[in-house]
C-alpha cells in the first residue's frame, strides 16, 4: 500500500499540472480538477499497472472530459473571454520570455483537437506516437495536426506591432 502511495505521489508530482492544463481545454477549472483526480484514483485502482502510465492518464482525462462535456451539453470553449474568466493556466514568472496570459488566450481560441496536441507535446513531453494513441488518430495525422496547431498558435501570439514589422 505504501508503494502505491509512493507511485501515486510520483505520478501526481510529474503529471498533475499538465493533466489539469489538458483537461482545461474542454472544461472549467473545477471540473478539470475533478476529472484529473478521478483519473489518478482510477489508475490507483487498476489491478495491472499500465505500461505507459502517462499516456494512460492523458487518455483517461480526455475520455472523462469529453464525457463530462457531453453530459453538460455545453461547449467549454467560448473564446478568449471565457478563457480570461478562468483561473490562470500558467504560473507567470518575472523572467518569462513569453506572456503567459497571451498564451492562455491563444490556446483557448484554438480548436480542442489542436490545443490538446500542443499541451501533450509541450507540457506533457509526449512523443508523437503517444499523442496519436491518446488522440485516437494516425501518427501522420497527429504530426500534421500538431504542426498546424503550433503555427496557428504562433500567429495568434504575434502582436500587431510584430506583424507590421514583418
Amino acid at each position: 500500500m505504501s508503494d502505491e502511495r509512493d507511485d501515486l505521489a510520483k505520478w501526481f508530482e510529474a503529471n498533475s499540472r499538465p493533466l489539469a492544463l489538458y483537461a482545461r481545454q474542454w472544461l472549467d477549472d473545477h471540473a478539470a480538477a475533478d476529472v484529473v483526480q478521478d483519473a489518478f484514483l482510477k489508475l490507483l485502482g487498476q489491478k495491472h499497472r499500465p505500461a505507459d502510465a502517462r499516456a494512460w492518464l492523458f487518455r483517461a482525462v480526455r475520455n472523462a472530459a469529453l464525457n463530462e462535456l457531453r453530459r453538460r451539453r455545453t461547449h467549454a470553449r467560448h473564446g478568449a473571454a471565457i478563457a480570461a474568466g478562468r483561473g490562470e493556466w500558467f504560473e507567470q514568472q518575472l523572467d518569462d520570455v513569453i506572456d503567459a496570459k497571451a498564451v492562455q488566450e491563444a490556446l483557448a481560441e484554438l480548436p480542442p483537437e489542436q490545443s490538446e496536441l500542443i499541451v501533450m507535446r509541450i507540457w506533457g513531453q509526449m512523443t508523437y506516437e503517444q499523442m496519436a494513441e491518446v488522440a485516437g488518430v494516425p501518427l501522420s495525422t497527429a504530426r500534421e495536426r500538431y504542426v498546424a496547431a503550433i503555427e496557428s498558435l504562433r500567429r495568434k501570439m504575434v502582436t500587431p506591432w510584430e506583424s507590421k514589422t514583418k
Binding site: 499540472r17 492544463l21 483526480q37 484514483l41 504560473e91 504530426r143 504542426v147 503550433i150
Partner: protein, 165 residues
C-alpha cells in the same frame, strides 16, 4: 520528411519558449490522497458487506432447506431371519478308539480251500487219517495216473468231480 524539417527554426524556438511556461497548480495533492484513502476504505467496506450478505444468504438458504425438505424418518423393523443350520461337523473318533492299538497288518484268516483241493484233502487226512481220503481208483491207477493226480491236487483242481480216470 521529418517533423523537424517540417517545422521552421522560428517554430522550434517558439516551442522552446512555450516550454518555459509552467502550468499552474490546479490540484490539491492532500485532497487526492484523502480521496484515495476513502476509495480504499470503501472497497474494503464493500468487501465486508458482500461477505456478510453472502453469509446471510447461506444461513437463510439453510433455514429454508430445513423447513421445506422432509426430515429423514428412522423406521425400526424387526426382521426374522431363519438361521441356517451349520454344516455337520465330522465326528471325531473317541479317545478309546484313538488310543486302541491298530492292527499292524492284515488279519490272518484261514484260507478256505475248495472241497477237493490238495490242502483240504491233506487237512482231512491229517485229522482223520487215510480213511478220509476220497474214494477213488487211485489204487488201480498206474504211475502216470498217480503223477497226474498229484499235479492236479497241487493245482487245486477237483480230483473227485466229474473226472474219470
Amino acid at each position: 520528411m521529418g517533423i523537424q524539417d517540417e517545422m521552421s527554426s522560428d517554430l522550434s524556438a517558439f516551442e522552446a519558449r512555450l516550454s518555459k511556461l509552467a502550468p499552474a497548480e490546479a490540484l490539491d495533492g492532500g485532497m487526492l490522497i484523502f480521496r484515495a484513502g476513502q476509495a480504499a476504505g470503501a472497497a474494503s467496506r464493500r468487501r465486508w458487506q458482500m461477505l456478510a450478505a453472502a453469509s446471510v444468504c447461506v444461513a437463510v438458504g439453510a433455514a429454508m432447506m430445513s423447513v421445506i425438505c422432509p426430515r429423514t424418518r428412522v423406521v425400526e423393523r424387526l426382521v426374522h431371519v431363519q438361521q441356517e443350520s451349520p454344516p455337520p461337523v465330522p465326528q471325531r473318533p473317541s479317545l478309546a478308539a484313538a488310543v486302541a492299538p491298530q492292527p499292524a497288518g492284515p488279519v490272518w484268516k484261514p484260507r478256505e480251500f475248495s472241497e477237493n483241493s490238495y490242502f483240504r484233502v491233506r487237512q482231512q487226512v491229517l485229522e482223520h487219517g487215510l480213511s478220509a481220503l476220497p474214494t477213488s481208483r487211485a489204487g488201480s491207477a498206474g504211475p502216470q495216473d498217480a503223477r497226474r493226480l498229484l499235479d492236479e491236487l497241487l493245482r487245486g483242481d477237483d480230483v473227485t468231480g466229474d473226472r474219470r480216470f
